[in-house]
């Protein structure tokens, strides 16, 4: 346990339980968060469409990854099927909008609720499985749901995919990147608050108990089955919201986007960010979204310097993404959040940091 990183900070005196479990432990961190939010809110003024699209991607992936973090990081149930739930949310939202004409802003939470149902259904059998068997069962769920997407023409448009409308509020269409950015930002802030709140509540503590030592948790009276299934449900809710936002951003949903590769990327996001930490998830998502972009930039620069490489650069890109994940896991297995805490500790304890 690193000195200075997790111990109480100077000037932090909690005199009541209420202040102890505040979301932002110090006034400084709260002000920083608000400042960051303000900067983001002004984003569309000074960022071009490319950066806005990246931030939007980070936004909806973060929401889904937070869901996965609840399931895997806090409750200890590893799931390789998250992309399938993401897809359920995306298709549901598009389908509700296309078939029933429900305004898109309503479709998104409705899609989240529907995905929760699906998640609860899958959680029922999954609650009985432990460890590696659960991992493999979620892998199977991923393939089965993907197959369902391929087949259910009425729901997903089959393999040709389906169009998803853009968000409209009283006739004002949020169809440019700049405008959609605010929609995603709103949902992201809401999700962050909800998830952080969940983790400091009774249910959140139950999840952590479930992960750390489920036998003791059961002895203490925590209903294991209920909380396991609940974890699946809640994580699916956020996956569904993330998926719905994705669908209405792309304007087009097709089943290929929700394969095992995306599930693996979600797991990568929370592991690289740091399991069991909200901020870690954000960092992990930023890493996973920016990694292909950085590699593309590097490839572009490489092409200018050494044009004879030609199409080989594409292969190097793929290898670079895989190697980045591998190297990161070898050298920083506890994730970016650990690195962040180390950095903070270094600053705090200077010149005695070691």
């Amino acid at each position: 346990m690193a000195l200075g990183a997790d111990s109480m900070r100077c000037g932090e005196f909690h005199t009541s339980y209420r202040t102890d479990i505040r979301i932002f432990p110090t006034a400084f961190s709260r002000n920083m968060a608000l400042l960051g939010l303000a900067l983001l809110a002004l984003g569309p003024l000074y960022l071009n469409a490319y950066w806005l699209s990246l931030l939007i991607q980070i936004g909806y992936f973060s929401i889904a990854a937070l869901g996965l973090n609840i399931l895997t990081g806090y409750s200890g149930q590893i799931s390789l099927g998250h992309a399938a739930f993401f897809g359920v949310g995306a298709f549901t939202s598009a389908w509700l909008n296309n078939s029933f004409g429900i305004p898109v802003l309503l479709c998104i939470p409705l899609a989240g609720l529907f995905t929760t149902l699906v998640g609860l259904i899958f959680g029922l059998p999954a609650g009985r499985l432990k460890g590696m068997y659960l991992v493999i069962a979620t892998l199977a769920a991923q393939y089965i749901i993907e197959d369902f997407f391929n087949r259910a023409d009425w729901f997903t448009g089959g393999t040709a995919g389906t169009m998803a409308g853009s968000v409209e509020l009283f006739g004002f269409a949020f169809d440019t990147d700049g405008r959609y950015f605010y929609v995603v930002l709103a949902f992201l802030v809401l999700t962050l608050l909800l998830v952080t709140n969940l983790m400091r509540s009774r249910d959140g503590r139950a999840f952590v108990a479930l992960r750390d030592h489920y036998l003791s948790a059961e002895i203490m009276g925590i209903n294991l089955n209920k909380y396991r299934i609940l974890a699946f449900g809640i994580s699916s809710f956020y996956a569904g919201i993330g998926g719905a936002l994705y669908a209405h951003y792309m304007g087009y949903v097709s089943v290929e986007a929700f394969g095992l590769l995306l599930s693996v990327q979600f797991i990568g996001m929370i592991i690289i960010g740091g399991l069991g930490s909200v901020m870690g998830t954000l960092l992990g998502v930023i890493f996973m979204v920016m990694l292909p972009q950085v590699v593309t930039w590097g490839a572009g620069a490489l092409k200018h310097l050494a044009p004879q490489l030609g199409s080989n650069v594409s292969y190097m890109q793929e290898i670079a993404v895989g190697m980045a994940i591998v190297l990161f896991l070898i050298f920083e297995p506890e994730g970016l959040i650990h690195r962040w805490k180390m950095t903070k500790a270094w600053w705090k304890l200077y010149p005695f940091s070691y």
């Binding site: 895997t72 590893i78 059998p125 009985r128 499985l129 432990k130 460890g131 590696m132 068997y133 991992v135 493999i136 069962a137 892998l139 199977a140 769920a141 393939y143 089965i144 197959d147 391929n150 087949r151 036998l215 002895i219 095992l260 693996v264 797991i267 990568g268 592991i271 399991l275 080989n312 292969y315 190097m316 793929e318 290898i319 993404v321 895989g322 190697m323 994940i325 591998v326 896991l329 070898i330 297995p333």
Partner: protein, 297 residues
Amino acid sequence: MDWSLLLAFAVNGILVGALYGVVAMCFVLIYKATQILNFAQGEFLLIGAWICWATIVQFGLPFWLGFLVTLAFMFLFGVLLQMVVLRPMIGEPIISVIMLTIGLSIVFRSAMNWIFGSHVRSFPAVFDTDHVEILGLNVQMPYVLSFVLAILVVLGFFLFFKYSRMGLAMRATAFDQQVAQSLGVSVERVFALSWAISAMASALAGVVIGMVNGVSSSLAFYGIKVFPAVIVGGLDSIVGGMVGGLIVGVIENLAAFADTQYLHWGNLLEVVPFYVLIIILMVKPYGLFGTEDIERI
């Protein structure tokens, strides 16, 4: 009901299932020894197939020599992989290691695509007769070879684990690492050896599949098919791996039979292994031969 066709499908299922079984046994070997779910198992097949193809086609070695070179290469590859990449990860949470193997699988697949290109390549013909007929199904010689090899591999594993010192050491490590260590077993060597043997046997399967279907990056998908096989058989039972592989192969083909004759859904055989997986997990959570996890407080 077309019985002869059904029988043909069933025979095909057993042949394909034997290959699944070999890969599943390799997977279980790694899991038993190191508790790691190796998502890069399919890539071992791929690398083995490509190396063998390269030695035969690009370097012009005769088949048997190329095959042996491949086995030796894969042995070294497994050892190196364990030493360089996986040893630093000992003690880390299991999900990080799983993610690591997934990252490795991405790297290997891209590297193979880069080095050998993305076209399907076929092996030059190795056998004089093209196929034999078994119970009404034209069976290609490589498949017969694979079945023979699969049986040899099972026998080899059995003899190795039962009678050799190293095999005994591996079993001890799988049972309880700390006790084995205290008795003088070099756990590092056991880990490295388990990865090496797994890589070698997977390469064997890869070469056989490559001989029949041609070598291409789709070989890696066998790494995903292995999951239903090990679940059916039990994650920590090597015999279970083979049995699970056979069962999955047969069920796949029976599903294909039902699909083409009656259902016309199209791709039932692709998803059926996963439905079977879920059903087996409901009924027998630890598979047919897996050891039940008795929880003690």
